[in-house]
């Protein structure tokens, strides 16, 4: 049995057939996981200024760039193992660098509240065994975490939910479009306008506290009825919800206070984003957007977006991320002006403009370690096959030594 690193579910029941040191066949993994485990189409090669080199001189050059930079930044981390993340935080401390990960434009804000224990949360096993009302809010789990519904939330039979989805569970989707998850929820799909989450929550709060909601009265009252009867509920908060209410998280807190049986779970995309948030939280008390300078500084201006927009960095190390394809064009313009170092198993858009590229092993397939599942559970990753690539952790150790 192998652990899949395709998404933050970290399915640990995958079987693989290895032939000639290559994965020939995967069983039980979804399409996303199967593609991840089979590795890259275009493998990254070590290079300096677009010219092929060897890994030792690439690491040496990367160390030189980071050492000479006044305000270096380390970004990525969501696709690295916990061990590599801890090393990365150590490196940032040593370099007095800014460190941030993809959660700063993803679920960071919600995970922070979960880690600060402001929200009730639960494990995915609890969901499987006990949950009877599931709300997919602004999240298309069916497409983003394909095995979420079949492995944990809606379809399986649990200890106290022996009749599974047929009778014991209700799945509700609240979204701006009819996603694949909403198609499964069928009768319980609530379509809201863009940025309409706040109004929807306020109406739901009204309904739950005995007032007549001002908005879509009949449907909201019906939903409030279902929520009140729930024995164990889970709200799977997707990025749609987080983006829509990030300025006003208090409304969500108020809603959860009215629903004592409900638990919030941020739906994480990258396999170890929660791991980075937890590691940084443990060391600094913040989940992302940190600058070290002897002390720990946490401000919004240290997010990757603000740093690039305001040209606050003069060297960027990207590990297991691809800012060039995931951030808006106006923001990434600054990348052309500064040296970029890219550590990744595959060739990405960012690696194409990088000054130094360092290939690494695909974690969970070519290197082992640990990762944190979307519910905070630590899962061990296994090494499936032998190879010559260095793991993220080893690269960072050597980088640290060179600095």
């Amino acid at each position: 049995m192998v652990t899949c690193t395709g998404c933050a579910l970290l399915c640990d029941d995958i079987e693989v057939v290895v032939e000639n040191n290559r994965i020939k066949e995967t069983r039980n993994a979804c399409r996303r996981g199967a593609a991840r485990m089979k590795g890259c189409v275009n493998r990254l090669i070590p290079s300096i200024y677009q010219k092929p080199s060897d890994i030792d001189s690439s690491i040496k050059k990367a160390a030189e760039i980071l050492k000479n930079a006044k305000s270096p930044m380390l970004f990525g981390w969501s696709n690295s193992t916990c061990e590599a993340q801890v090393k990365g935080i150590g490196l940032a401390r040593k370099l007095n660098a800014i460190i941030d990960d993809t959660s700063s434009f993803c679920q960071g804000i919600l995970i922070e509240k979960v880690l600060q224990k402001k929200f009730r949360t639960c494990s995915l096993e609890d969901v499987r065994n006990r949950a009877d009302v599931l709300i997919y809010w602004g999240s298309d789990a069916q497409d983003s975490q394909p095995r979420h519904l079949s492995r944990f939330s809606y379809f399986p039979r649990g200890e106290t939910r022996q009749r599974g989805y047929e009778e014991d569970r209700v799945a509700i989707a609240i979204d701006v479009r009819e996603s694949n998850t909403a198609k499964i929820c069928k009768g319980h799909f609530y379509r809201i306008p863009l940025k309409g989450d706040r109004e929807f929550i306020l109406a739901l709060i009204d309904a739950l506290s005995g007032k007549v909601p001002s908005y879509d009265t009949k449907k909201i009252l019906e939903l409030a009825g279902i929520l009140k009867k729930a024995e164990f509920g889970a709200i799977f908060a997707g990025i749609g919800l987080t983006y829509s209410i990030k300025e006003d998280l208090v409304v969500l807190l108020t809603l959860v206070d009215l629903l004592p049986n409900f638990h919030i779970m941020p739906m994480v995309g990258h396999y170890n984003m929660r791991g980075f948030n937890e590691n940084l939280f443990r060391e600094t008390g913040f989940v992302n957007r940190v600058k070290f300078d002897g002390n720990v500084n946490h401000e919004d201006k240290y997010s990757i977006l603000e740093v690039l927009k305001e040209k606050r960095t003069d060297a960027l190390l990207v590990i297991g991320g691809d800012p060039l394809s995931s951030l808006p064009g106006t923001v990434v313009k600054h990348l052309s002006a500064i040296p970029v170092i890219c550590i990744d198993p595959c060739a990405t858009l960012t690696s194409k403009i990088a000054v130094v590229t360092i290939p690494c092993a695909v974690s969970g397939v070519e290197s082992d370690g640990t990762a944190v599942r979307m519910d905070g559970e630590t899962v061990k990753l296994s090494k499936v096959m032998e190879n010559n690539y260095l793991s993220d952790e080893k690269i960072l150790t050597r980088l640290m030594r060179a600095i």
């Binding site: 029941d13 069983r27 979804c30 998850t181």
Partner: protein
């Protein structure tokens, strides 16, 4: 979904009985349930029925890969989420410690398995749509949002 009348309209409609069936309508029914093949109707192989034969072949083409129960898995639509693996009542009964609770199937008695990120059907004789006491079960079609499983 293909109907008997659609197939019947394209047959010669002469009730010649050369195929062994008493009428062309009966042959159309047998064709739909994949008990007979187009080539068993000898008159349609003649030149003057060429257009009708081609149409008929095109109509029956999607059912060519179907299992005995009429199941087709459209692998290009399947995302390998495994909803059908867990939802299938036969899988639940045959693998209560595996597929039934969302884990990977732990034995070979299950109907659905995910291989290479796509669902593969086996043990088709266990399917509730198979055999004498068959029922019109929709347990694997309903949970599939992409429509990758179809019965023809």
């Amino acid at each position: 979904m293909l109907t008997v009348m659609e197939l019947y309209q394209l047959l010669p409609k002469t009730n010649c009985k050369k195929c062994g069936e008493s009428t062309c309508m009966a042959f159309a029914v047998a064709l739909l349930s994949r008990k007979r093949k187009i080539a068993e109707c000898t008159p349609i192989l003649e030149e003057n029925f060429k257009k009708q034969r081609e149409k008929l072949e095109a109509l029956l083409l999607p059912t060519a890969g179907a299992e005995e129960t009429g199941m087709i898995v459209h692998t290009e639509l399947c995302t390998g989420c495994g909803n059908c693996v867990v939802a299938c009542p036969v899988d639940v009964a045959n693998d209560p410690k595996g597929a039934a609770i969302g884990r990977a199937p732990s034995n070979d008695k299950v109907i659905f398995k995910v291989v290479e990120g796509k669902v593969v059907a086996s043990n088709i004789k266990e399917c509730r749509r198979f055999g004498k006491n068959r029922v019109l079960c929709y347990a694997c079609i309903d949970p599939c949002p992409t429509g990758a499983i179809e019965f023809v």
